[in-house]
Symmetry: C2
Subunit: 336 residues, 2 copies
DNA sequence: GGGTATGGTGCAAACGTTTGCAGCGTCGCA
DNA sequence: TGCGACGCTGCAAACGTTTGCACCATACCC
């Protein structure tokens, strides 16, 4: 462990000079500064930041918590968060909760101790647990809302999300226009806030259009979850299936192909998010395009505004249905 | 900023008791401990760890540095690293360098200050820069070697990699058996250590088999890089092309499809890594299966062994060519 | 040459935390 | 009832770092 004392001794100056040479270089003579910084790097000195009691917004790092880094949705959001944060002079440290609420709470604490603020992408914890974990933490939420609790000390947490209700309404309208009257929905984990929103939005839209909505069940938000959901869809007699996200939709497509079901001839499939992968499979996936990069950037902007003492207001981003090859007219024959 | 003093005051005990109640619970009375921990969580207290000078291996966190989180290769490695580390009681914090050596050096410093040790996956920095950035840092390398520098104080960095040479040798043997005699190679970024190894291995294998190897150039290790490489491959008159990694190979496949080139009828394509995505496209990608999960686990094991004061030896993992639909016999007609 | 401003540096206090040491009270045993 | 042991707690020192304050030397102005 190399300390300021070691560097000071090697450079022949006091520890104050070392500290200043590294923290506020303009307050120290150029020659001294160069010598100190050179020796510091040679010795591999790393300031033990947080050692001082102040530590106010000076780590210049933010944390990002996601449920699953292997999901391209979060990978894209991560990239956007990082790009924006980096441009503003902040490093980003990412933690992956493996979709586990308990791990999530732990990671919030561990990240908060090492950074100035947190972006929580689609946290899976319940409202109460999340509120408890966020006491004393500067954070913003992405794809999740958290209304202020009863405790007046609990801070309101700003959030940025996409317009899930509008997205699924567009999906249902599209399917209706194609003639589909019996539509399946493969829901994601019950802990997903946007998942619940999407199912609720679908129900409302289906009722309005007089479309029968079949809830196929809740599945893991992965490719494998879609594989599982596909068989439920076939058994239920629906002519179209809406998946919680693109990954599940791709799993459904894959399973249908293996079972010899033509898409979109016999079954239409719709996803949500529009990850890049959705364009690479064939048929390409019809899906709701969510502006993931904007989402990540906006989350960072909200967080930095809070860190700088400003106020930040929650916002909701618009989405747009992107029609590709996986949806088509309802099969001509009688619905089996 | 809630401190031990606040908690102590609220709990009616001394700061020592608070510290002990949280750090070594067995040394404090059960009733006191419960009261302290309850008040601490209520107040949202986070220990300012690193404030004490000791800080020896007690953060129980490791850092993981990757060039690109959006690359499924690194996503998979990340998951494996995390699973193993979590099982051993360590949290993992991930940083993404965006393939930029300068950012890499910065992140190494920032991560090292917050964790007990680092796993560096495929670092892009040059040997000298990497060595400089690692002074005083406990780290292990994945898919990269770094031999001890001249400076005796510089630590040897243990590393775990896959057998690139054997992998590409298997690839070339496979293509040779299919009749290919003019094979293109789409190399990755020059800064990639394993990339250089793979190209070198291909050259050696091609020379041995009397196969003409055409270097198409170096490309970004992304999907887009492959898109670009595909046109070079078509222009060069090769009958098969070996990509630096699966992502590039998928880009090649996509571009060839758009240009109406049949795979594998007119052109064979081979990748490297065997990411999950390789099985989802059609034709499915022939690729070298690298044991990514083992790689991640092994890296963590090496790191933890070092952290616990043991010694750890570098190792190399075996690979296996996985033949799928993207390779086939050389076209019957004369090579154009 | 005297006086003053200025810029560079060191001293020492303070931060939040951990930990060795000692004091205190209680309990068990004879 | 007396004595020893032990569990629990507080005091205070120490960690590495930052920062207010003061000192000193040099440069500049008249």
């Amino acid at each position: 462990m190399v300390t300021v004392h070691d560097v000071a001794r090697a450079a022949g100056v006091s520890i104050s000079t070392v500290s200043r040479a590294l923290a506020s270089p303009e307050r120290v003579a150029a020659e001294t500064r160069d010598r100190v910084t050179r020796i510091a790097t040679e010795l591999g000195y790393r300031p033990n930041q947080a050692a001082s009691g102040l530590r106010m917004g000076r780590t210049h790092a933010v944390g990002l918590l996601v449920p699953d880094l292997e999901n391209p949705y979060f990978a894209t959001v991560t990239k956007a968060v990082q790009a924006r944060a980096r441009a503003e002079g902040y490093e980003v440290f990412v933690a992956d909760s493996d979709e586990d609420p308990d791990v999530e709470a732990e990671l919030i604490g561990a990240l908060a101790a090492r950074t100035d603020g947190l972006v929580l992408a689609s946290p899976r914890s319940g409202d109460a647990e999340l509120r408890a974990a966020l006491v004393g933490v500067t954070a913003v939420l992405a794809s999740r809302e958290l209304t202020g609790g009863s405790d007046p000390e609990t801070p309101e947490v700003p959030c940025v999300s996409v317009d899930d209700a509008d997205g699924v309404a567009q999906v249902l309208g599209h399917l209706y226009a194609l003639g589909h009257r019996k539509v399946g929905v493969a829901a994601g984990p019950p802990s997903s806030w946007s998942g619940s929103r999407r199912v609720a939005g679908l129900k409302a839209a289906a009722e309005q259009r007089d479309v029968e909505l079949v809830e196929l069940g809740t599945f893991q938000p992965y490719f494998a979850g879609g594989t599982q959901a596909a068989d439920y869809a076939l058994a239920s007699g629906v002519t179209a299936v809406v998946a919680f996200n693109d990954l599940m939709a791709l799993g459904i497509l894959d399973r249908l192909r293996h079972r010899g079901v033509d898409v979109p001839g016999e079954m239409s499939v719709v996803g949500f998010d529009d990850v890049q992968l959705a364009t690479l499979v064939s048929p390409a996936l019809t899906t709701v395009h969510a502006p993931l990069a904007r989402l990540g950037r906006r989350a960072v902007d909200l967080l930095l505004a809070r860190l700088r003492g400003g106020t930040s207001v929650s916002s909701q981003l618009p989405v747009e249905l992107t029609i590709r090859g996986s949806t088509g007219p309802v099969p001509a024959g009688p619905v089996n």
